[in-house]
Structures are given as C-alpha cells and as structure tokens.
Amino acid sequence: MTMPEIIRKVGLIACGGEELPEGTISRIAARLVLEELRPLHTVTLCLPLFLAGGEAERAFARRQPTITIDGCEKLCARRATATYSGRPAVSFIVSEFIDYKGLRPPIHRRTLDEDEIALTRALAEAVAAEVDTLVEAQRSGGLGGMLSAQKGDGQKVVFADGTDEGLPVCACQSGGPPARSLQLASGAVQVVALDAILAQFAREGRPADASTLQDMLALVKIYNAVPPEAETDYAAALQREYAGFLARREKQA
C-alpha cells in the first residue's frame, strides 16, 4: 500500500485591482498557478473576504505560508494579508516585475493581448518557483501547514478517508476539503478537513490518548481558526470524535 504523501499548501492572495491592468495581471497570474502550474500545492482566498468574512478567513495566512501578488506599489494584498491575517512569506509587485524584466507595461484591463498574456505567464512561473521553495521549506520542517492526502492520478486529491474532494483551490471551500460540525461544550463549530484528519490518525494506529490529541489539535489549527481560550474545549471534543471514529471503524472491520 502506498503511504499518503503530505500535501503542503501555499496561500496565494492577489490584489485583483479593478482600476489598473496590473490588477488583472495579478489575478490571472494567481489563477494560472492555482489551475495549471501548482494546483496541488496552492490555495487562494478573495482579498475582500478579509473584511467581509469572518475569523476563519482572517486565519488564512496563519494556516499556511502566503504569497501576495500586488498590481502596484499601494500593496493592498500584502498590507491586507499582514494586517488581517499574517505576514506574507513572499510578495510580488507586478509593476516592479515589469521593470525588472524590461517589458512593456500593460494597457488592457479586461482582455489581455498576446504580450500581456506572455507577461502574465512569466509572472506566474516566478510565483510557482516561490511556491516550490516554500513547499520544500515546509517539507524540511521550516514551515507549518499540511493536509494529509493521497495523490491519485497526480491531479485529483483523494483524502485520507478515501473521499475524493477534487482539487482544493478556494479557501471559501468551493472545491476545497469539506468542513464538518464539531460539538464543543460552548456550541457547534465547523471544522475544515475534520474527517480527513481523524482518518489519518486512525490509519497510523494512534490511540485516543493525550499525545495523539495534542498532535491532532495542532493539525486542526493549521486549517482552522482555534481561539487559544477554546483549545481545551476543542481537545475534549476531538477526543470524543476520535474515540467514536475508532469505534465505528472497528465495528465496520
């Protein structure tokens, strides 16, 4: 049986500024990395969700290292990420990238021409290279952030519990790992990738003891916003969930 590969994630935040062609380029470059170049290792979040969303969205950059892509020197993506979520690991500025490469500044906001698409692809390649660096740093223990998954055909992600959830692309959960309700003493909360995490620990033969629960909580915190004051509550709920999971698994076996 093939052991599951640990899929490391890097977050991408593009400014997507509507007023400038560079905003369009930031957005499309991010999409190219997500969709074509590094689909297994990247996830994104709409920048306006930092304000319009909740704590789960604001925890985005705390879950994984983040690369921001800004159109101009106002640095909205970098500043928003740092302000509301966490300091980005790497920042790109489209206008500086254009200067550095000696390319023609873009003029189209809506439909890019051939040169602008070439520029966008070059930027996407540069971002993808930084994704590789960050993934390697995570792999060697330099950064946190992982989700256990088995690669199927190299494109689709099959989660450890055997469910096929497609490519995790968007942090708002369209195409991402499913969230499930976890009953805390203080009320129910949605926990992203809960079933995959339970399955991973069960597959490793971990008992429902304090050491396992500590590791499990650490993994849950990577993809979920867990307030420090609620950690004990989460740990107790995870213990109940995990004990129930193991019992059901044994019964099925």
Partner: protein, 138 residues
C-alpha cells in the same frame, strides 16, 4: 455633467462568478457607459484607503457580487458608501441556467455570455439611478 457612478465588482478569484462580475463591470465602464461610470479597486477599500473611502462616500455605487458573501456590497457599505443597486451574478445565472461555465481564469463562451447579461442588468440599474437623481447631478 453627471458625477460618474462607481461600478465595483467583487472580483472573486475562486469561482467563475467572480470573473463574470469583473468582466461585466469593465464592460460597463469601458464600453457600455464610458464617462458615466468608473470603477475602483475594491482592495483599496478593504485597506481603508482614505481617498477610496472619499470616492465611495461621494458617489452613487453599483456593486456586482459573484456569490452570497457579497464582498463588494459589504465593503462599500463598511466604507460608508451608498449602494444604489446591488447586482448578484448568481441571480442572473439562475435566470439563465444554460450559461453554465467553470472556466475561471479566462471566460469561455458561456461565461462571456453570462457576463454580457450581467453587464446589461448593471446598465439598467445605472440608467435608473441616473434618471432618479434629478437635480442632484453634479
């Protein structure tokens, strides 16, 4: 001369509806109602940029949102702006379900057609706002 109406899309990056809304907004400001409309970077509002806040507080605004999270409308409202009309791409899609698309990065034929419909709806909202402003025109 009328003060330009601000057309602000959410530009959501995870789903096709964000791309559709963005294309519709740029279609309106560049082709359908140039001069009468402008757009602005929503991310500037998210960052609390003072000039951006002044712009939305001093103009009528039409927001275009891709999904129910309504990031464009909420951010404009949080900045103290007045949302004259809020266009929802999902609502337009529900009326044109044959225009299903999943091409997020570059719109395909269905996505483009859906964007055209959203742009038409946005223009109707803009024209209604212009008609209703009377002597309030700057």
């Amino acid at each position: 001369m009328n003060r330009p109406i601000l057309v602000i899309p959410c530009s959501g990056i995870g789903k096709v509806y964000g791309t559709v809304g963005r294309d519709a907004a740029l279609q309106v400001v560049e082709e359908l109602r140039p001069g009468a409309t402008e757009t602005m970077c929503l991310s500037l509002l998210v960052m609390g940029d003072e000039e951006a806040r002044r712009r939305v507080q001093g103009a009528q605004t039409v927001t275009i949102d891709g999904c129910a999270l309504a990031c464009a409308r909420k951010n404009v409202e949080m900045a103290g702006g007045q949302v004259g009309a809020a266009v929802m791409v999902l609502d337009v899609y529900r009326r044109h379900r044959h225009l299903k698309s999943q091409a997020v990065t570059f719109l395909d034929e269905n996505g483009q057609e859906l964007a055209n419909r959203v742009a038409e709806e946005t223009v109707r909202a803009i024209d209604a706002l212009h008609d209703g402003r009377g002597d309030d025109h700057a």
